[in-house]
């Protein structure tokens, strides 16, 4: 997986921090997570072909998380897109887009397949052989959802040389890949670890923005490889965080700690902060493996 941060700001953008947008790359597929204003420009800067994005996930209907979407859809239309676009979003998104495109008299040449978030439960919203994607409710001023991208457990890798030594028939290989031992015709049991190697470990990515501090969220993404959690404020402004249903850097770290995450990314910084080091120091007090994100930041994991 590779996560690209297209916007690391919050409600009010700054000259260096666009509103929220992220792109998750998994085995050549592009998943766009939120789409704040200027998102399509950031995609151009990253040289991501717009038409390779087939799945878009919108957390909630505050403008700083979706106002780049109508422009992006319009650019896809003008670029000749024909393939359907899957849009995972709150139900109101459909009415908003219909209103906008009816006034511009735009007849999109492709279909938008809407899928609306379940209000209260963690749900699988998309999957294929390698990946499953969940949405789960966050705790914000208006309905808001996080997302979990989970690579499915990979099959074990066959040791070709061992297969030849034991002369194992092809139809048995799937059982070996699934981790089973092999019963030799002479009665011996051959340990699977002699016949296969560990697969590349599976990765997972959880996205939590926007939300107030809510410890139960950690149960939605146990032992996640990388957690992105919003950190709009530092602890000095914890009252403001409560009032606006946002989190502090320390609270983001607590969620990462509770979830047993391997790494924490924090972003969605309020425009009032110029120096972001206090966010990092605060978060690392509770969770050492924290990383601040910025516009243009990318991470492979």
């Amino acid at each position: 997986m590779t996560i690209h941060i297209l916007g690391s700001g919050s409600a009010t953008p700054t000259v260096t921090r666009n509103p929220t947008a992220q792109l998750l790359e998994v085995s050549g597929r592009y998943f766009l997570i939120d789409c704040g204003e200027s998102c399509q420009i950031s995609l151009l800067r990253k040289k991501i072909p717009l038409l390779k994005i087939n799945h878009i996930f919108i957390s909630h209907l505050h403008g700083d998380h979706w106002l780049g979407l109508p422009g992006l859809i319009s650019s896809m239309h003008l670029a000749g897109r024909k393939l359907p676009l899957k849009l995972f979003c709150p139900a109101g998104m459909e009415q908003i887009l219909q209103t906008i495109f009816s006034h511009s008299e735009t007849q999109l040449q492709f279909e938008i397949e809407f899928s609306f978030h379940h209000p209260t439960e963690k749900k699988v919203i998309w999957e294929n052989a390698d990946l499953e994607i969940f949405s789960f409710p966050l705790a914000h001023r208006i309905p808001c959802h996080g997302f979990l991208f989970n690579e499915k457990k990979r099959l074990r890798n066959i040791r070709r040389e061992a297969i030849e030594v034991y002369n194992i028939p092809v139809e048995e290989l799937i059982n070996l890949k699934l981790g089973k031992d092999w019963l030799h015709p002479d009665g011996r049991i051959i340990d699977n670890r002699l016949l296969t190697k560990d697969p590349k470990p599976s990765s997972s990515y959880a996205y939590c923005s926007d939300t107030e501090f809510a410890p139960h969220l950690a149960s939605y993404f146990p032992e996640v490889s990388v957690l992105y959690h919003e950190a709009t404020f530092t602890e000095e402004l914890i009252e403001r965080a409560k009032l606006t249903y946002h989190s502090t850097a320390y609270q983001a770290a607590e969620i990462a700690y509770l979830a047993g995450a391997k790494k924490l990314l924090i972003g969605h910084f309020s425009s009032r902060y110029k120096d972001l080091n206090p966010f990092l120091l605060e978060s690392q007090k509770k969770f050492a493996n924290t990383c601040l994100v910025f516009d243009g930041f990318s991470l492979d994991f």
Copy 2:
């Protein structure tokens, strides 16, 4: 007057050309003309305080001319704006903003005073002692309007030394400023030009985007100081220009020529063009005083 170009691109933005937005500064007032996506970021870059913008003019409801507006309004709200905001726009803009802000549960702390364009006539839409602003219909795929900003004719400047020589009473000065001669108590008529100096010439700015080539437009802004006219294509793509209700650089120049404009600015370049010199060369064949605009361009006049 000073015009600041915040976005010089057309429907599909590029990494160097944002969608259309311009800011006209007249004697310390800021008039925002169209508000494409990323407009508020461009305003931040230009260090224009958002709260000093009290008048916004939206030409039409294609997204590349207004998608920056909800974010800008939201940032004004978060910055504590209380003053009403005047919005000159197509009627549909009100429904769009209501839909967007109802889904985000945003209760703006200030009023938006909507003023909808007259569909077919040139109309004064705002004025004060120094300036009058007109809207006029353009010729585009959907209803679209241009704007003319006209500084009113200034009063003549009194020559203090002449006033003393002739001992002219204070209450007569307004007549002199209006250009009248003075009748001396001894019966002589004193030529106004001996008593006053020419005022600074008045400036005017006309904005035409988006529109197909329509020669009658020139009559809306005779002898304008600076005309901005869209030039989405060069003449090679004149058929595409017709089909999409846009203009070529040469057609923009023809309008400037017909209007007797003093200077022509062209922009709204299609994203297919990397090199813009052909636009300039084409326009200058008909109208020598043409200037290409770019994001960040400013001109005093």
